[in-house]
Symmetry: C2
Subunit: 609 residues, 2 copies
């Protein structure tokens, strides 16, 4: 089924195909050979899906669009401080081939004019011009996601006619901006980089790699350190469209770069990369249709860096408490009575999305506002994709503040996400105060820890409990309890023993825990188990066999040494004839317990919905 | 408890207080009277929370920071097309008081230099200079969120010494940029607007109003049409810091504006507004500490329009199916058998956040990818805060495509959110195809509609069913069913009748539906009801009274004319003595039914977690 974006691009392409203004570049004869009608558009999403229309596979030379990427390589190789001494970042107000050097230092005004681009080319890593060229090729390949080649005829032609650029290179040598003994060597690399062959899909991929903070979303390869993407984009924003920067940002609002080969790239940080090819150029050397496509995309898809529509409050999906979503652990009544009155002081915070300073401010503000009403905060990070250092520091700071007041902050669902965990720990180390970092695989384990903290605040937890405390037997008269005792026996299991196995037939036992802890486990397809419940003294399990099931639906495993009171379901069934009042009492208890669990579970759904 | 952001601002303020470079403005004597040590910082969040440090209440004159706001008012009053013929948007590369008019048209290069600002002032709505001044005052008041006043002594001084600006105004009159017969009248308004008194909290509030797409987050008042915020911010980005635009975006990455009064504002679209006051200026007329604060904030809090960290995939929180979360309606076995095999073809899509083109692309792509496996799509919009027109068009387009293939798209949880609903309907009207827009108050109603669509695809739904089909009686032997029949009776209710009332004591009836539909309602604090279940023929309700409750936990109301089979719980209890086998069978059925519901509910939680 055609995607609505693809449909939209087809219509846009058809609309603008009729635009026939502009001229082919003719400063070298090879460029004048392009087809006037060639026209391709491609948009790539942040997860690497490419939508295109028209001649998306037609190759052409990248020309000046190479400039921001080689500048990016120079920043990565030599550092921002060093590079900023060699190339400025101010719009020149002049045409692309102006020399525009700072009268004092000789530094080109910016890396998007030829002088600044040649300087950038001379700055990338490499002992020789040859190894620098390999570096440039590799950098371009990392952005595009494939090896690159150059169009030899265009390269030769550029080199043969590039006298103005030779003058620029010597001027840069004169000012010490280029260090090479022979400035002609890096200049040849500049001619080569301009002759790299791309199609508009490649351009969109390069653009989206900048939009994706330096990682090519298809190959997963990092092409540029994340912190260098904003500087490169800012230079594209102010200097990318030659002497047109103000109007460009005003009308289009996207960092962009054009080349006389007919290509344009535009970048929507965090959202899209765009590549366009149409070789008809306006007087300033920009693709006429390319500019029109960018304007229409900006308008129709509302793409503009200045109309960012995120909302910090969306970083916090919800706040709820253990009163609404208690742990799945079954507590005997005495412990439940310790937990229930304060369960609402255990707060869950469900975080969402990439967390930056604004979202973290919103969340930590809420945590502080609820502090008087909190004993524990569980930060559920399942839906968090990344966290900036500034956001992590805000969490670290807030964690320390709350800890100083005796409020625990624990983290949940960070399993297998080392970069998030590392960022949070860095954030905690950045502040003074207690540095405990407690992290749980799931919310249930986290809330159990918090519930235990509540219980222990009131003194020791009873280690043993009569089976009569279990829900299945609760409220039975002494006579009925004596009957149960007479028909039941005791079993012991050691830590790690499997008490029940899911799928097992013909096991008819019903258990009540008198001491120790048991986990109820659901087998997963991959051979692992999912822990669905955890039980201590005063709980019962396996009782659903009374309702007619033949096989066990879950396994049970001993988390410690356990002592169990055991009944046989067939003995219970026989009570219908001999002691119906006991059977009725047990069934009523069973139904009551399941009803209670259903109520709690429905409450949880309301809290989670 | 102090917020970590407030702590951070205090440290930043302390750090930079020692910075004593720069000089007070002295072109009029009043400005030179400022205190060198005055220094205030304020950040306001998108929801209107202000954090400040230092002299946040110290007032000063706004000076050039008025320029983007008066320009904004001119855009709002006269339209972008008209204004762009009068004032350009290109950085001038010159100082703030340069004349920089286009040699042909006489249009000032941009609205941030004096010439462009005076032109903007002359363009705001109003028949007379007086009424224009009222318009400017009102515009500023809307941004700040309070009435404004001017510092008379500074205004008089500006007016007395503003000869260069008089020359500019006459030049603008000469080129027809200013229409007034006497250009000195709007010029006086310009002097007045520069003399408006603000503190840095006011500046931060003005900035956050731009960040919030034109709405002051404290007053909720719209100060500027949403679509004009991006153009204003783009002009601030390229021209706001005089001949420093490139470096500013490179180092700070925020649209900003400074004034010789010592103020600076900076805007992080969709995130923060920032205001700073320190009257020590550098040679370019920018506050020395103010610039330093912006650099530090950009670095420390990672605030930069070009390092936007959102991820389109976060717009789709989850996708799950009616196999995991079926409706709460109880279907008799025959209908359940029609639904179950295809329940996974009903898909829920939980949408999240403000939806723009990138997020909508991700969601609709997923909907199309799952189309072969879908009969109905439920779009849950509960967590959607806003939707752009471009996103709404993508949904409209996808809706029409799916509808053409017989796949229904329905919307859920739009209740009371007219602007979202209107945007979605506009998006649907923008495409050809079926225009049905079905919207449900909650997911349960939506999935019931989808389940009914599945059932009806297989022919008519039985309208009547024996009580023996209800879970409570299912599987009973003919002899036991005859006993039930003997001890039960029939009751009829009309549509709208209340069958049970929550809280009611001493009502011991248990019901099975033989025809018609019944809703189970939970009374809410505000007098409303929350519908927790919906039941048709073959369902039973009220049976939990068997487990010992004395009062009803929910109400039941007839959604149509209904015929019910009714039992008395006390009669059932008496069965213990007379017919224990019937009582045991009923309790087993009850426990089985609750267990079944608990399993389904636990599945739902897994799908929602």
């Amino acid at each position: 089924m055609p995607s609505p974006i693809a449909d939209y691009l087809s219509r846009l392409h058809a609309d603008l195909s009729s635009l026939d203004a502009g001229a082919l570049a003719d400063y070298i004869p090879e460029l004048a050979k392009a087809e006037r009608s060639d026209f391709g558009i491609c948009i790539v999403t942040l997860d690497g899906i490419a939508y295109s229309a028209g001649d998306a596979d037609k190759r052409f030379t990248i020309q000046s669009i190479s400039k921001p990427f080689v500048y990016a390589a120079a920043l990565a190789d030599r550092g921002q401080a060093f590079v900023s001494g060699k190339v400025g970042v101010e719009p020149s107000g002049d045409a692309f081939n102006s020399i525009s050097l700072d009268p004092k230092t000789g530094a080109p005004k910016n890396p998007m004019i030829n002088a600044g681009a040649i300087a950038s080319t001379s700055l990338v890593r490499g002992d020789t011009a040859d190894s620098q060229w390999q570096r440039i090729r590799a950098a371009m390949a990392a952005f595009i996601g494939r090896e690159v080649e150059i169009e030899e005829s265009i390269y030769r032609s550029e080199s043969e006619t590039g006298h103005r650029n030779r003058a620029i290179a010597w001027m840069l040598k004169n000012f010490g901006i280029i260090d090479h003994d022979d400035p002609m060597a890096p200049l040849e690399n500049y001619f080569r980089q301009c002759s790299i062959l791309v199609d508009c899909r490649d351009l969109a991929m390069m653009a989206v790699t900048l939009a994706n903070r330096g990682v090519n979303p298809v190959t997963g390869q990092r092409a540029l350190p994340a912190e260098l993407t904003a500087p490169v984009l800012s230079v594209m924003a102010t200097c990318g469209m030659y002497d047109y920067a103000g109007s460009w940002l005003y009308e289009v609002g996207m960092p962009a770069k054009s080349g006389v080969g007919g290509g344009i790239i535009a970048v929507l940080p965090g959202r899209f990369g765009i590549g366009i090819y149409s070789p008809l150029l306006d007087a300033k050397g920009n693709s006429v249709r390319g500019i029109e496509v960018c304007k229409r995309l900006s308008q129709d898809l509302q793409l503009n860096v200045f109309s960012h529509s995120s909302q910090p409050s969306m970083a916090l999906s919800r706040v709820y408490t253990a009163a609404e979503v208690p742990s799945k652990r079954h507590y005997p009544a005495a412990l439940r009575a310790r937990i229930d009155p304060r369960a609402s002081r255990i707060k869950y915070y469900t975080l969402h999305g990439p967390l930056a300073a604004d979202g973290a401010e919103f969340i930590t503000r809420r945590m502080l506002a609820l502090a008087d009403d909190s004993d524990c905060c569980i930060l559920d990070l399942h839906q968090v994709t990344q966290i900036t250092d500034s956001a992590a520091r805000l969490f670290g700071h807030t964690h320390a503040q709350l800890a100083a007041r005796g409020i625990a902050v624990v983290y949940s669902r960070l399993h297998g996400r080392e970069s998030l965990r590392a960022a949070l720990r860095r954030g905690m180390r950045a502040v003074d105060g207690p540095h405990g970092f407690l992290s749980f695989e799931d919310n249930d384990l986290a809330v159990q820890w918090c519930e235990r903290r509540l219980i222990e605040a009131d003194g020791d937890v009873g280690a043993e409990m009569s089976f009569a405390e279990a829900p299945l037997f609760r409220g039975l008269s002494a006579a009925l309890l004596a009957q149960v005792e007479a028909m039941s026996w005791t079993e012991h299991f050691a830590k790690g023993d499997l008490i029940l196995t899911a799928g097992q037939q013909n096991d008819r036992r019903i258990f009540a825990i008198e001491s120790g802890f048991v986990s109820i486990l659901l087998p997963l397809m991959n051979g692992d188990h999912h822990r669905i419940e955890s039980m201590g003294p005063g709980s019962n399990f396996g009782e659903l066999i009374l309702l007619g099931a033949t096989a066990r639906s879950a396994s049970a495993s001993a988390d410690s040494d356990v002592r169990l009171r055991v009944l046989d379901a067939d003995d219970v069934h026989r009570l219908s004839a001999t002691h119906p009042e006991l059977k009725i009492a047990l069934l009523e208890n069973l139904a009551r317990d399941v009803t209670y669990k259903l109520r709690r579970t429905n409450q949880s759904i309301t809290a989670l919905g």
